[in-house]
Amino acid sequence: MLELKNLTKAYGALRVVDDMTLEIAQGETLGIIGPNGAGKTSLFSVIAGQVAADSGEIRFCGQDVTRRPPFERCKAGLGRTFQVPRPFHGMTVFESAHVAASFGAGLSGQAASDFAAQAVERTGLLRHLNEPCSSLTLLDRKRMELTRALATNPKMLLLDEIGGGLTDHEIHELIDILNQIRDSGVSIVWIEHIVHALTSFVDRLIVINFGRKIADGNPKEVMALPEVHEIYMGVDIDDAA
């Protein structure tokens, strides 16, 4: 579904995405881990189009989207959330979802309203439906990121640390939501520091360091690799995260 071929992005001498080749199948769930500054978020930005790749190719659903603007990638089915929430301050929760349903999912009229309201309900923000996004707590702003991405009716979701700062209980709720989304056929790529939550959810795990993929495979096997331990300097992985 998503294919990256030798994707590279550098700022001066710093390669934040370095010769990345990766394939993600439909319905697959992929976790991405790596130390701070490894290039995880940069990889998302290059895939979703906020940052242009220097070289390499991005194919999504068989189409070359390497040079397409982000809104077209969104319409093609690539939904993303931002690590630091970027809500529409002057708009309500419903309106934020509605705009995604209208433009991202391409719905109009009653269908758009319904789809937006459903996305809001799925992520548990229904009681804030008519409230401005500026009044949401940090936690709810993270939910709003997911709501907006969901309301675009994505084929693939790129989730950037959507579980950060959540309690164990809230993480379980989030994973329940994500399970439902996966079951409806959406691929999920999830960057997360809470490794135990991530490994319990994803089919496959990759590790990134200095913009390069250093491990790729079954989550348990990847976590057991010596290179991965080395990055976390021998500390118990959950604590290091």
Binding site: P69, C74, A117, Q118, T152
Partner: protein
Amino acid sequence: MYDALTQSAVWRVKTPKSGLVAIALAAIVLALAPVAIGPGSLRLLVEVFTMIALAQAWNLLAGYTGFVSVGQQAFIGIGAYGMFAVALKMGLNPFSSVLVGGIVAAVIGAFAALALFRLRGPYFAIGTWVLAELFRIFFINTQYFGGASGLTLARVLRGIPRDVRLNTTYWLALALALGSTLLIYLLLRSRFGLAVRTVRDNEASAESAGVNVWGTKFMVFVLASFITGCAGAILYLNTMFVGANAAFSVKWSALIIFVVIIGGIGTIEGPIVGALVYFTLREYLSDFGTWYIITFGLVAIAAMIVAPQGIWGYVAGRFKYHLFPVEAEISKDLPR
């Protein structure tokens, strides 16, 4: 992707009628005004109405889409010169030429956008001002457009009775004020309006919700240029004389910004309230010379301290009331 939530209840976006009723009432009452009031008051009302249109256009740019222009005078001047040129050189009726003025402004706005959109924030603002200066210098130095002495409509208006001229100008201005208010209101309540507001709030999020940010900004800028161009044409139809130094003066932008800020930026009511406050002050204070400018400054400072959201922003916040609610409120209708 998902089944309908509950089949028995339907999500409904409320569609308030208050704004449309207000515009309809204003249209009826104000259209009849020439019967009751004299030429001096009519001329003043033309100024008020064109200012409302100018303020609505700037508010659409700055208050709803998030880009601040201080070069609106570029489009005022182009609208005016466009109208004068077709009326004088091609013999078109000066009243229908107003529309031509607006279209010329929109076309130039479209080309200007290609360059201006490369600039952001304060750089964009300065860029719009530079654009206006370019046009001022161009018109001052072009004999075809009368050069430094400007153009007068006296020749083409000679055959038209004074009453007809005054009343037609008045109705044009009224139509522009109400028309632009209604158009912008309906636009903001549509799905395009949602896109516009996301661009103001966060461009990256807007793109990742599927909004074409550049295209949205472009359409808004062209529409604002069109409205501003029509307003410029009507302003100078009212005075019958246009000179480049006055038409392309940055004072226009200062005035428009004053009106929108005082009235309430980011509301449809704000530009109307602001225009009414400005002209009331001007009519009462113009005899006091420099004091009149100083008073404006004091009013602006007072407004920023007491009501940073402007007069209408203050009223709306206090009484939770909007005549023109742009925000879509949703509720679940129970089955009947």
